[in-house]
């Protein structure tokens, strides 16, 4: 059947050219796609398939164009010779395309795995970032809390008014606070660098043995009382609380001690007890003295009457009179101690009184071998409101006692001072034998004496105590055996504005 060749020729040639052009453009697009996401296996697949189509299009189109050209140029033989080759190349090319196409599933699976892996990696990365941020935040928070806690603990440790001492398992001091340095009297270097052990603070080794045994057995001690001895030999009464710390985070075992200085508290308690005791004794003495005073007056009156009426028994009556007078003195002393007596009050210059006492006593033979020194307060006058005679009596008594303490040979120092709180101090210090510790709490008791029978009534200090109390003052003693004693009288300084109140109280 004859027919027009043009449509077939045109479609064949133009189609072949179009195939090549479009295949190249497709390859370009596939390459662009691949470059946009190099990790995408599907895009790689599309690139391969585009390459396959390009080979297919080029081989097929060239074959077709060549065929048309050779046939139309009457070279059919040449075409017949090469057609088998172009056909084979064409077959191979579209088989290649088909082969590549069948790899789509594998490419897809690979891509899915890559995507899944990447997604997991991203998720893990996000989680890690989140964890990292949370961790950082937690670390910041914990560090802040730790710093705050450490700061708080350090402040408590450093600012504590109680002594805190940390020791190792062998009780060697590792750390102490400022209060510890003040209490023990040892420097930080002495304690920490020189590796001092805690037992060195104790005045008596037996006390430390007792405490260390207790802490070893019970692992803690609570308010154990002990006496510390400072480097300057000052002793302190302390309460010790402590416990063992087995340590955390690899820290070694250590002991923590909290030590309170209770010396002043105990001293005050002793003074209160003493004052209470003396007050009770004063009441008793006043009652007894009052009851005895009247019969003694009658006995003395009748004795003096008989002396006039019975001159024959003069010697006997004189003895009676003398002893009654002695009894009256004792009763008077007792009344003085119990503060029941009355006396005239006036402005007294303490320095004058002390000066007078020294002048008066220095003439006595007992003071010949005694070196008496006076250290008076200089500057303004030490005026107080009181009874000069009574105050002289107290000071005389203290100086005589000091004379007895030094046993006729030694030093007696009398000093006067004025404190910032408007108090006047009179101190009588000797370097005698001192007072035994057990007697310290009794020396102001009426009739207490360490002198042999007949040499003292035991009323001197108790009368002095009563007089000083009546003057709104206080009397105290510090003594160490073999070193001497210091009696300190504290009296309120005279001020015009308190004259009326003081008079009222007296």
């Amino acid at each position: 059947m004859p027919t027009s060749f043009i449509p077939i020729l045109a479609v064949d040639v133009l189609g072949s050219v179009a195939m090549v052009v479009i295949a190249l453009l497709s390859l370009y697009k596939a390459r662009t796609l691949r470059e946009m996401d190099p990790d995408n296996a599907v895009f790689l697949y599309l690139l391969w398939i585009s390459v396959g189509f390009m080979i297919f299009a080029v081989s097929r189109s060239l074959g077709h164009i060549l065929r048309q050209f050779l046939i139309l140029s009457s070279n059919s033989d040449a075409w017949n010779a090469i057609s088998a080759y172009t056909g084979s190349v064409n077959t191979v090319s579209f088989m290649l395309v088909g082969l590549i196409t069948l790899f789509f599933n594998q490419s897809w699976n690979i891509n899915e795995k890559i995507h899944s892996g990447r997604k997991k990696l991203e998720d893990t990365h996000i989680k890690l970032m989140d964890l990292n941020q949370t961790l950082e935040q937690k670390v910041i928070e914990r560090t802040e809390r730790l710093t705050s806690s450490e700061h708080k603990c350090r402040r408590i440790f450093e600012q504590s008014l109680d002594t805190i001492i940390v020791t190792d398992s062998k009780f060697t001091v590792l750390e102490t606070n400022a209060a510890g340095i003040a209490l023990t009297g040892y420097s930080r270097d002495d304690m920490i660098i020189k590796k001092m052990t805690i037992n060195r603070f104790f005045a008596y080794p037996s006390e430390w043995e007792r405490i260390s045994e207790k802490i070893d057995s019970k692992e803690y001690i609570l308010n154990e009382e002990a006496e510390f001895l400072k480097p300057d030999n000052e002793s302190l009464l302390v309460l010790i609380t402590g416990g063992v710390d087995y340590g955390a985070f690899g820290c070694a075992k250590s002991y923590h001690f909290i030590i309170k200085n209770v010396s002043e508290k105990r001293q005050m308690e002793r003074q209160i007890a003493q004052a209470d005791k003396l007050a009770a004794l004063g009441e008793l003495s006043a009652g007894v003295a009052h009851e005895i005073n009247n019969p003694l007056g009658i006995i003395l009156g009748y004795t003096q009457l008989l002396l006039k009426m019975e001159p024959d028994h003069k010697d006997d009556l004189k003895i009676i009179e003398k002893h009654v007078q002695n009894c009256k003195t004792v009763v008077s002393d007792l009344l003085s101690f119990s503060r029941k007596g009355s006396s005239e009050m006036g402005i007294v210059d303490i320095n004058k009184v002390v000066d007078g006492v020294i002048k008066f006593l220095s003439n006595y033979p007992d003071f010949r071998n005694i070196e008496m020194t006076l250290n008076p307060h200089t500057g303004d006058r030490l005026n107080i409101l009181g009874n000069e005679q009574e105050l002289s009596q107290v000071i005389v008594n203290l100086v005589i006692n000091a004379c007895h303490a030094v046993e006729g040979k030694g030093k007696i120092d009398i000093a006067t001072q004025k404190t910032g709180q408007n108090k006047i101090l009179i101190m009588v210090k000797d370097d005698g034998k001192g007072i035994e510790k057990k007697n310290l709490s009794k020396i102001f008791d009426p009739f207490f004496t360490t002198k042999p029978v007949g040499q003292g009534t035991g009323l001197g200090l108790s009368v002095g105590y009563g007089i000083i109390k009546r003057h709104q003052g206080d009397i105290s003693v510090k003594s160490s055996e073999g070193k001497g004693s210091v009696f300190t009288i504290t009296l309120p300084s005279y001020r015009k504005e308190n004259l009326s109140t003081t008079r009222g109280q007296l």
Binding site: M1, P2, T3, S4, F5, I6, P7, I8, L9, V11, D12, L14, G15, S16, A18, M19, I22, A23, L25, S26, K29, A30, T32, L33, M36, D37, F43, L46, S50, F53, A57, I71, L72, A84, G87, S88, N90, T91, V92, F94, M95, V97, G98, L99, T101, L102, F104, N105, W108
Partner: protein, 147 residues
């Protein structure tokens, strides 16, 4: 056995290939190509990629390639396999389609089959359009990520 050893004859070690093998191989190649395109169409659907315009266009391209392969296989069947059709080029304007039984229907059918570029060029164009669309999509995704 001894006779075979003692009196040997010629043995043809390589197989002889008839010229028909070429067209059969070519036809199998077309069918393989067709099969791969069908697989591609179903795989794209199976993976849910056809929701994207680019992949849909690639599917259409594969479909046209399927048609093209059918066209080519049919044409080759008539002219190269059973030799039922033959073309004689008379001039650049005229040609003659010679069929075995002078069937005009077969001649016209073959004539249409010979216009196979009308299938493969659009198929190629759709592949290009599909790839272009995927490039554009990818560009949009990248822009969104950059924002």
């Amino acid at each position: 056995m001894a006779g075979v050893v003692l009196f040997p004859s010629n043995v043809f070690a390589t197989q002889f290939h008839a010229s028909a093998e070429g067209i059969i191989t070519h036809q199998m190649g077309h069918l393989f190509f067709l099969f791969s395109m069908v697989v591609l169409i179903f795989t794209v659907t199976d993976k849910g990629l056809n929701v994207q315009k680019g992949w849909r266009l690639i599917q259409y391209s594969a479909f046209l390639f399927v048609l093209w392969n059918l066209d080519a296989v049919t044409a080759h069947f008539f002219d190269n396999q059973i030799h039922a059709v033959k073309i004689e080029t008379i001039s650049i304007w005229k040609m003659k389609i010679i069929t075995n039984d002078d069937s005009p229907f077969l001649a016209w059918f073959y004539y249409i089959l010979k216009l196979d570029h009308l299938l493969c060029v659009p198929a190629m164009l759709l592949l290009y359009k599909g790839l272009s669309n995927l490039v554009e999509n990818q560009r949009q995704i990248r822009l969104q990520k950059e924002r």
